[in-house]
Assembly symmetry: C2
Homo-oligomer: 380 residues x 2
Amino acid sequence: MKNFIFQNPTKLVFGKGQIAKLAQLIPADARLMITFGGGSVRKNGVYDQVKKALEGRVYTEFWGIEPNPTVETLSKAITQGKAEGVNFILAVGGGSVLDGTKLIAAGILYEGDAWDIVKRSTAERSIPYASVMTLPATGSEMNSGAVISRAETHEKYAFYTRYPEFSVLDPETTFSLPPEQIAAGLADVYVHVMEQYLTTTGQSRVMDRWAEGLLLTVLEIAPLIRKNQHDYDVMADFMLSATLALNDFIRMGVTQDWATHMIGHELTALHGITHGASLAIVLPGTMSVLREQKHGKLLQYASRVFGLNTGGEDERIEEAIKRTEEFFRSLGLATRLSEAGIGEETIEEIVERFNARGARLGEAGNVTGDVVREILKSRK
Amino acid sequence: MKNFIFQNPTKLVFGKGQIAKLAQLIPADARLMITFGGGSVRKNGVYDQVKKALEGRVYTEFWGIEPNPTVETLSKAITQGKAEGVNFILAVGGGSVLDGTKLIAAGILYEGDAWDIVKRSTAERSIPYASVMTLPATGSEMNSGAVISRAETHEKYAFYTRYPEFSVLDPETTFSLPPEQIAAGLADVYVHVMEQYLTTTGQSRVMDRWAEGLLLTVLEIAPLIRKNQHDYDVMADFMLSATLALNDFIRMGVTQDWATHMIGHELTALHGITHGASLAIVLPGTMSVLREQKHGKLLQYASRVFGLNTGGEDERIEEAIKRTEEFFRSLGLATRLSEAGIGEETIEEIVERFNARGARLGEAGNVTGDVVREILKSRK
């Protein structure tokens, strides 16, 4: 096991009716801004619940944080927040609203272009913020990361900042999510776990078990959600799994990969493809191209997640990769670039971007532009 | 899934050589007291590491917190701490030193008998404290609970207080632990998980998987530790599992039992038996007597932890209980009251104590004195 430091101070407020607690959770003297996406929270009743919970409180609203939030949009919110002396932000929506809010919260204390913060990958300071999370996927509700896009240059990068003060998670808010968002969310959660799990064996037995426990949970709930998206307990497990997949709980003392995410971000930056959907295309390629390096863990994954214990090792690994892809397909997601309407020219464009940055991705730092090309070519 | 609120702010500083970071971790202006047990840290080099890390810093020491720490001893430390204006405490040792320190930290801000805090089960205020944890077992290094004894009346109760600021966990400090402490520690960790797991089915798939992951890890590492107590990776998994078993991570949205612990505390209070060892005696009885109520979860436990999937349901449950007892015996622990030199008169004494308190233990609140009698009689 590697040495590590772990600390995650975010308060989770989980369950039915918990949005009503907002007034207790937000400091009484906060100069509050509430941030939103495109307006789905107006339809599903969440906006009304928030308004009711904060009746009598003064706050400003900022609407219109888009999926894959752009620094261009967020800069407007930063300007508004600075002008109004905002010192606490509540994000209401999915991972994009919250990721965008993380940049707004940092940008309010920063003199200059907020894109600097993203490029530096760390915010030195940030006002406190919190969330009402309505879409299980990114884990942003209990971590310090955020992924921000720049429309002008088609760039998309992660940066790290303070943790949310609290996140309210009410599984009932997920009942009305569009099926394609559920599908992308499930894929996102699954791949978050895989990035922290599918590296080398023998680092930590308990971290392996917890990662496998999350994978098994996602595989079990996915068909149940398709059957009945109003099953509270199933949606609660979905929501909790999304949080636990990326809140540092399963990465203690182990190496991490994240090559699939870095490649997926490029697909999103260039083609606007939903984040979770991009991962469903890339992951089988990463598994396949790096199968020698990941041999032991792929065998463990085959055995513990899919019960594949007989036949030759290569055969079991091949089957595990196949089942992973089949899982994504069962969600209704494309798993090939061509299915997503992405042509071969995009592969070279992405390779060039990685080469220009001198990228060496993955747990072994050996995923260069050339390896990225191989991964993407295997996903044509 | 039940509604829940989760927040655990403790910083874990995990790995080889991490004790050297103490000077950075403890506020520079702290009026520091360091608390210790009986002196094993002088032999295993931990005391020297702490002294070296804090060279040039001023602090006072309090030695002699005993196993199952007593309010009588801790009151002396409180008096010393008040006299010296202590505002930060570092506990160096195992769960007893840290549990005792939790009461000292609360007692320093309390006017009156510290036993009041224990009887009320909640400390309203506490100075900050932290730990260098050298014995994986209680999980006290990352939770808000502590168990305190009163020698005068042979009482032993838990109380809740603030979380540790940080805990330094260096697996190398466990290399020299006496085998009987390792055994009791492993049993303690196992039963902590069982108290949060062996209730009813269908509450949370992911919490079940995580609890099972911890149980499987403990079952896997126990024989490896017996073979080689200097295997860093194995001891690291032991140490991390102990923390994760009782830091609120596996109790999100699920009911809990804790009857076995309450009964075990009485065995310790009356006979001084080591905490983990007391649990190894009681747990098979709780499982057996409450097998109808816990039927579904016992079957799940039999299947997922021991791979018991064939034969009648009662047969599988019987076998799972047997294997649980065998696991404790494989650690070298007694699993019968008679083996621990405890006679039948103790059973009635314990039943009377529970009756006097009107106790109704367990996840269903139905473990009365009579049920406790049944559990203990099954363990003669």
